[in-house]
C-alpha cells in the first residue's frame, strides 16, 4: 500500500475514519490510505482485490448511519486529496469535480459563473460522498436530490478497473444508466473518484419567511396547500415546538441570536427571476399558510439574515443532541407521500410525548420527509433506551404502512439494514444482491452495508 500512496496506522487517525456523525460507535479500519489520483485509487482497489481486503471510501465522515464503519477491518480510502475542480462548463451549466471536493469548495470555484450546485444536506460533505449516499436536503423540493444533480461519474470498480458513466449530453439512451446505479450505492459497488454535476442559475431574487402555527397538523396542512397551489417553493421546512425550544437553548449564548417562538413553525424560501415574481409566489404561499391557521409571518430578505436562518435550521441536529449532556441520537428519516404526512407526524409526536422520550421533530416537509431525533446519553437507564428504540420501531412501522420509506435521504449504512428487507421484499433484495455479486464478487466494497449479501 505504501508503494502506492501515503498511509497511516495512528490510532486516532484510524478511529476518525471509522466514525461518522451518527450515534454509531467508531469501528476503525486497519489502515488509512491517502490516494492522490484516480490512478492511485485504482491501484489500491487492485491490491485489495488481489488480497481480498475490505475497502471503504471516506469523504469527510458526515454520514448518519455508520456508513464508514469497518466491521471487517481493511482499508479506509481517504479521498481528501482528490479535491480539485476538473473542469467547468458555465455555457452548458455543468462542471466536473473530484470526489473529495466539498460542496462549499465547488460553489466557491463557481462564484463568478452565476451558477451553483444546489444540493444542500446541511453538512459540508464531499460531492463523492454525496453521490455515494444519494444526498438530499433542504433544496430538494425545488431542485431535486443528487440523483437529479449527477450527470456522470468516474468509478473505480472492485477489481481496479476504471469506468466513466453518463456524459456531457443532457440526456442519453445509450445503454444502462450506470450513473443512477452508483448514486446511492454507499460505496458497495465501486469507488467514485469524479462527479459531473448539473448546475442551476443562482436565483436573482431570494426571500425567506417564517410562519407560526398553534398546531403541528396545521403546519403540515399548510405545506400541502403550498404544493397543491403549484408554488415552486425553494425550501419548505417544518420544525415542531420541542425543536425550537432546543434551538433557543443551543443558541442562547450568541448575543446576535433572537429566540424563536416555541410553537410549530415553517421556514420557507422562495427563488425568483425578479422581485415581482417572488412577491407573487410568496403572497400566494403565505395566503395558503394563513388559511391553514398560520400567523405571525415574518420575512427575511436580507442575505445575512437568510443565512442565519438556514444555518440555524441546519444546527437542529446538534441542538437536539444538546438537550442531554453528551447527547447522542437515533436519527430517523421517514419519508411518506405528502397526503399521509400529517397523520404520520401527528402519531409520531403523540408517541414521543406518551413514551416521555426526547424526540424533537423537524424536516423537509415539502418532500414528505421528516426527522424525529431520538436523544439519549450514557446516563439514561436501559428502560429509557428500550422506550426510545420502541418509538423508533413504531415510527418505521407507521411509515411503511403509509407507503413510505424508512430512509428518505440518509441512506442505509449499517443502521437501517434490517429495514431494507421489509421495505424492498426478498425478491427486491435478491435483485440487489445479484448486482452486488456481479460488480463485487469478493464482497470487498464497503462490506456489511445496505444489506447483508452472502459473500
Amino acid at each position: 500500500l505504501k508503494a502506492i500512496c501515503g498511509t497511516s496506522t495512528t490510532p486516532d487517525v484510524l478511529a476518525r475514519h471509522g466514525k461518522d456523525e451518527s450515534y454509531h460507535p467508531s469501528v476503525p479500519p486497519d489502515v488509512v490510505a491517502f490516494p492522490k489520483s484516480t490512478a492511485d485509487v485504482s491501484a489500491v482497489a487492485r491490491l485489495c482485490h488481489d488480497r481480498r481486503v475490505p475497502l471503504v471510501p471516506f469523504g469527510v465522515g458526515t454520514s448518519l448511519e455508520g456508513h464508514i464503519q469497518h466491521p471487517y477491518g481493511g482499508v479506509s480510502l481517504d479521498l481528501g486529496s482528490l479535491d480539485q475542480m476538473v473542469s467547468e462548463f458555465p455555457d452548458d451549466m455543468d462542471c466536473r469535480a473530484q470526489a473529495g471536493m466539498t460542496r462549499s469548495a465547488v460553489n466557491a470555484a463557481l462564484r463568478h459563473t452565476g451558477l451553483e450546485f444546489t444540493v444542500d444536506p446541511g453538512a459540508d460533505a464531499t460531492v463523492g460522498g454525496m453521490a455515494a449516499c444519494g444526498a438530499s436536503g433542504t433544496t430538494a423540493v425545488r431542485y431535486g436530490t443528487m440523483r437529479d444533480a449527477v450527470l456522470g461519474l468516474t468509478v473505480v470498480l472492485a477489481d481496479g478497473s476504471v469506468i466513466e458513466t453518463g456524459g456531457r449530453a443532457r440526456k442519453s439512451s445509450a445503454g444502462y444508466d450506470l450513473t443512477k446505479l452508483f448514486v446511492g450505492s454507499e460505496g458497495t459497488l465501486g469507488i467514485i473518484t469524479e462527479v459531473a454535476l448539473r448546475l442551476h442559475p443562482q436565483p436573482t431574487a431570494v426571500a425567506a419567511a417564517t410562519a407560526r402555527f398553534d398546531d403541528l397538523d396545521d403546519a403540515v396542512a399548510a405545506v400541502h396547500a403550498i404544493l397543491l397551489h403549484g408554488i415552486p417553493v425553494a425550501r419548505c421546512e417544518l420544525l415542531d415546538a420541542p425543536t425550537l425550544a432546543a434551538f433557543n437553548a443551543y443558541n442562547k449564548n450568541d448575543p446576535a441570536f433572537r429566540p424563536q417562538e416555541v410553537t410549530p413553525s415553517l421556514f420557507l424560501e422562495f427563488h425568483g427571476l425578479s422581485d415581482a415574481v417572488l412577491k407573487e409566489e410568496a403572497d400566494l404561499a403565505l395566503e395558503a399558510c394563513v388559511d391553514a391557521g398560520g400567523r405571525d409571518v415574518a420575512w427575511a430578505s436580507d442575505e445575512a439574515e437568510r443565512h442565519k436562518l438556514w444555518a440555524a435550521r441546519h444546527s437542529t441536529y446538534y441542538a437536539s443532541c444538546a438537550l442531554k449532556r453528551d447527547g447522542k441520537a437515533i436519527v430517523t428519516d421517514a419519508c411518506v407521500p405528502i397526503s399521509k404526512l400529517a397523520e404520520v407526524v401527528r402519531d409520531t409526536a403523540a408517541d414521543v410525548e406518551k413514551m416521555d422520550v426526547v424526540g424533537p421533530i423537524f424536516g423537509h416537509a415539502g418532500d414528505g420527509n421528516f426527522h424525529c431525533i431520538l436523544v439519549y446519553n450514557d446516563d439514561d437507564p436501559p428502560e429509557y433506551l428500550e422506550r426510545l428504540h420502541d418509538v423508533s420501531a413504531r415510527l418505521i412501522d407507521r411509515t411503511l404502512a403509509a407507503g413510505g420509506t424508512c430512509t428518505g435521504e440518509h441512506g442505509v449504512g449499517s443502521g437501517k439494514k434490517k429495514y431494507v428487507l421489509r421495505e424492498r421484499g426478498a425478491a427486491g433484495v435478491a435483485a440487489m444482491a445479484a448486482v452486488k455479486h456481479a460488480l463485487d464478487p469478493q464482497g470487498i466494497m464497503n462490506p456489511g452495508k445496505v444489506f447483508d449479501a452472502p459473500s
Partner: protein, 256 residues
Amino acid sequence: MRKVLVGVKRVVDYAVRVRVSADKSGVELANTKMSMNPFCEIAVEEAIRLKEKGAAEEVVAVSIGPKQAQETLRSALAMGCDRAIHVQTDIRSDQGLNPLAIAQLLEKVVEKESPDLVIVGKQSIDGDHATTAPMLAELLGWSQATFAARLDVAADGASAEVERETDAGTEVVKLPLPAVISADLRLNTPRYPKLPNIMKAKKKPLEALEAADLGVDLAPTLVVTGVAPPPDRAAGVTVESVDDLVDKLKNEAAVI
C-alpha cells in the same frame, strides 16, 4: 465623485494547488484555473457600493495582462462596473511585469480617465508585493491609504476617511481626494454576479490598449532567478512520554 477607477488582476485561482514548472523558472500557468485576485474583488465591490450610495457616478475597471484578462474584466462588469479598459501585454503578470511598470501603466490610464478615486487590492496573491498602490500614489502625487478596512467618502466628494489595518490594530486617516486606496480583507464581502448581470456585462464597453504603446519601460527591474516548491513535510514522530516530548522540543526543534 464623478468617476472611480478600479484595478483588477487576473491571477492563479486561490483554491488551485499551485505547481512549479519543470525548469523551475516559475509557477505552471498552462491549464491552470485563473480568477480575479480576491483583494481586487473586494476593491470592485467597494467601488460598486460607492456608486449605489450615490457617491460616484461611474465605475471603470482596468486590468493589465494577456487577452484572457478581458474575462476578468467581464467579471468586474458583471459585478456592476460600467466600463472596462484592457491594457494588453503578454509579459507574465505574476513575475515578468514588475509592480513599478504596473504602477506606471496605471498612471497613464489615470491621466487618460481622470478618476477622483483609484481603488486596487492591497496585493496580488501571486506576487504578494503590495507595492503597486503606494507607487501609483507617489507617481501621481496623490494621497494614499493602504490596507483599507473601512472607507467613507465625504458628501462633498473632496475627502475620504479610511480605517486602515496596522500591525497593532487599526488607525483612521483622513485624506483629500483624488487618492489611491488599497483594499484589505475586512473592507467588504464581495457580491457574486447572477446570470442576468453576466449576460448584460457582455454588452458593456471594453476598450483595449497596447501596453507597449503607452510609453512605459516594461523591462523588469526585479528578475526571478528560480522558483521552488516548499520542502515536503517530514513525517511526524509519536513520542512515548512527556519527558520525551520536552526533550525533543528542546534539543531537536530548539523551540524551548
